[in-house]
């Protein structure tokens, strides 16, 4: 999944659902999709942040 240009929540959800179905099957696709919503929301939120290039991952 690309990080840039920023992904929308819907794009992230579609991608995550495809990955989840590939791994765990499509019998419970709707249940998986529901559980993936908050991850998709988080992925869309952090990909939308245009960090200055000098910012590196912070290890606490």
């Amino acid at each position: 999944m690309r990080l840039y240009p920023p992904v929308s929540e819907q794009e992230a959800l579609e991608w995550l659902t495809r990955e989840a179905v590939e791994r765990w099957g499509n019998e419970k696709e709707s249940e998986l999709r529901e559980m993936l919503k908050s991850i998709a929301e988080a992925m869309a939120a952090v990909s939308a942040v245009d960090l200055p290039e000098e910012v590196e991952p912070a290890w606490p």
């Binding site: 999944m1 990080l3 995550l16 990955e19 989840a20 791994r23 765990w24 419970k28 249940e31 998986l32 559980m35 993936l36 908050s38 991850i39 929301e41 988080a42 992925m43 939120a45 952090v46 990909s47 942040v49 960090l51 200055p52 910012v55 590196e56 991952p57 912070a58 290890w59 606490p60």
Partner: protein
């Protein structure tokens, strides 16, 4: 009238043992009786062995009588969250059939070296099951989580202090729900060695106690660099004796800390508390977090999710293994299904870690010369029932930043449940925050024991 031993705090017990007013054996016996009387109702202890406690106390008593005090906690009983290794006792987080641990975690080893009596292991959620722990203020309500038993045991006066751990809001939440105080220290202040992991860069050992002075003394013992945990910082541990701040503090009341998701009873208590502090001389001003601050929850989800998915890769192979956990934490904005979090790409984890540092700096830059920020601990008082351990989302951002945070109990709701505030300072200002907390505690008072008897 002299207080009974179970009513004494850490500082008072340590001082009493030092002066010979009572022995560690007498202290242990009093608290064993207290636990035996109340724990069938409260269910704070997952592992409790009176024989082992008496054996520890006898040795400590002989040492005290010979004039040899091990350290500042000689004879002080401590409860331990069932996430930390305690030599000879199983660790609940390892799951069913866990064997006795061959060694102590670093915080427990330091407690023993300072003379503490290890009273046993306190309940926490394990394997997706919420613990059976009840709130000592109202047995029909949760004690919070995940340091459920630690919060309840201190609240119920079974122990004066307990170790907790916070990855989202697991220590300050239970403390607030159970009417006591807590500190989640800065990242790296206390070693995580022997603390069963949830999340490599978010897990913080914490202290739940009844006063800032008690908590400061225990923190001074368990803090410090540890070669077994390379993330511990080199700074010397904070002093054990909490000296006066020497002036009234400058406090920012956070006005955009999500009032839309917080109940009126909590918001009203913050206003009342702010008024009391101002009346006592504190410089109280409004404060606004950067508008980007809600990103903290998204970052927390990704970081916590990926780190937990990595650690649990062998155990959690299906997202449906986690349904119980998800249901229990249904209101927790920072919680994600750990098996599903394995799907998050590495680029997103590293981006989240970049945003983490960037957002921390933005927040630090807005802090100004304030001593501490004040805000809600949780959006509601302790929820009814045991199936929902409460919403930790207001605590998670400060865990993400690795900043010190304390919970102070300030009063009771109209239906008798504890209310409180969260105070936060910038990273590595732990001792200063405890001093500010002590100043506020002096003004606001502390809650009495719950009416359990």
């Amino acid at each position: 009238m002299a207080l009974e031993i179970h009513e004494l705090g850490v500082v008072e017990i340590a001082s009493g043992v030092e002066k010979g007013s009572f022995t560690p054996a007498e202290v242990a016996e009093a608290l064993i009786k207290r636990i035996e009387a109340l724990d069938p109702k409260v269910q704070a202890f997952a592992y409790f062995d009176p024989k082992d406690i008496r054996a520890q106390a006898e040795v400590l008593t002989a040492e005290a009588k010979a004039g040899r005090l091990r350290g500042p906690l000689h004879g002080v009983p401590v409860g331990i969250k069932d996430e930390f290794w305690v030599k000879g006792q199983p660790t609940g987080m390892r799951g069913a059939g866990a064997k006795p641990e061959p060694e102590d975690s670093t915080p427990v080893a330091k407690l023993r070296a300072a003379g503490a009596i290890i009273m046993g292991k306190t309940y926490m959620p394990v394997g997706g099951k919420v613990p059976p722990t009840h709130n000592p203020w109202n047995l029909g309500h949760t004690a919070g989580g995940s340091s459920s038993g630690s919060g309840a045991s201190v609240g119920a006066r079974m122990v004066p202090v307990a170790l907790g751990e916070q990855t989202v809001g697991s220590a300050l939440g239970p403390a607030a729900y159970c009417g006591v105080q807590a500190v989640k220290p800065s990242w790296g202040v206390v070693s995580r060695y022997g603390c069963y992991p949830f999340s490599y860069t978010l897990d913080h050992p914490a202290v739940i106690g009844r006063s800032m002075a008690d908590i400061a003394l225990v923190l001074s013992v368990i803090a410090g660099q540890d070669p077994k945990d390379p993330t511990t910082i080199a700074d010397p541990p904070p002093p054990g004796q909490l000296t006066s701040l020497g002036r009234a503090p400058k406090i920012g009341i956070v006005r955009n800390f999500f009032p839309e998701r917080t109940e009126k009873v909590i918001l009203d208590e913050i206003e009342r508390t702010a008024g009391e502090l101002k009346k006592a001389g504190a410089a109280v001003q409004d404060f606004r977090l950067p508008e980007q601050f809600p990103l903290a929850w998204h970052i927390h989800k990704i970081v916590n999710g990926v780190e937990a998915a990595t650690f649990n890769a062998k155990r959690l192979t299906s997202p449906f293994d986690e349904l119980a956990v998800s249901a229990a934490a249904s209101t927790a904005a920072s919680t994600v299904n750990r098996a599903l979090a394995a799907l998050i790409p590495g680029t997103y984890y590293l981006q989240a870690m970049g945003v983490r540092g960037w957002l921390e700096k933005l927040t630090a830059d807005s802090f100004g010369d304030l001593d501490a920020l004040v805000m809600a601990v949780a959006p509601t008082p302790a929820p009814r029932g045991l199936s929902n351990t409460g919403d930790p989302s207001l605590l998670g951002p400060w865990t993400l930043f690795g900043w010190p945070a304390i919970a102070l109990s300030t009063g009771l709701s109209s239906d008798g449940l504890p209310l409180g505030i969260q105070m936060v300072a910038q990273r590595n200002r732990d001792y200063h925050l405890l001093q500010v907390g002590a100043w506020c505690e002096e003004v606001l008072g502390r809650l009495p024991a719950p009416p359990l008897n």
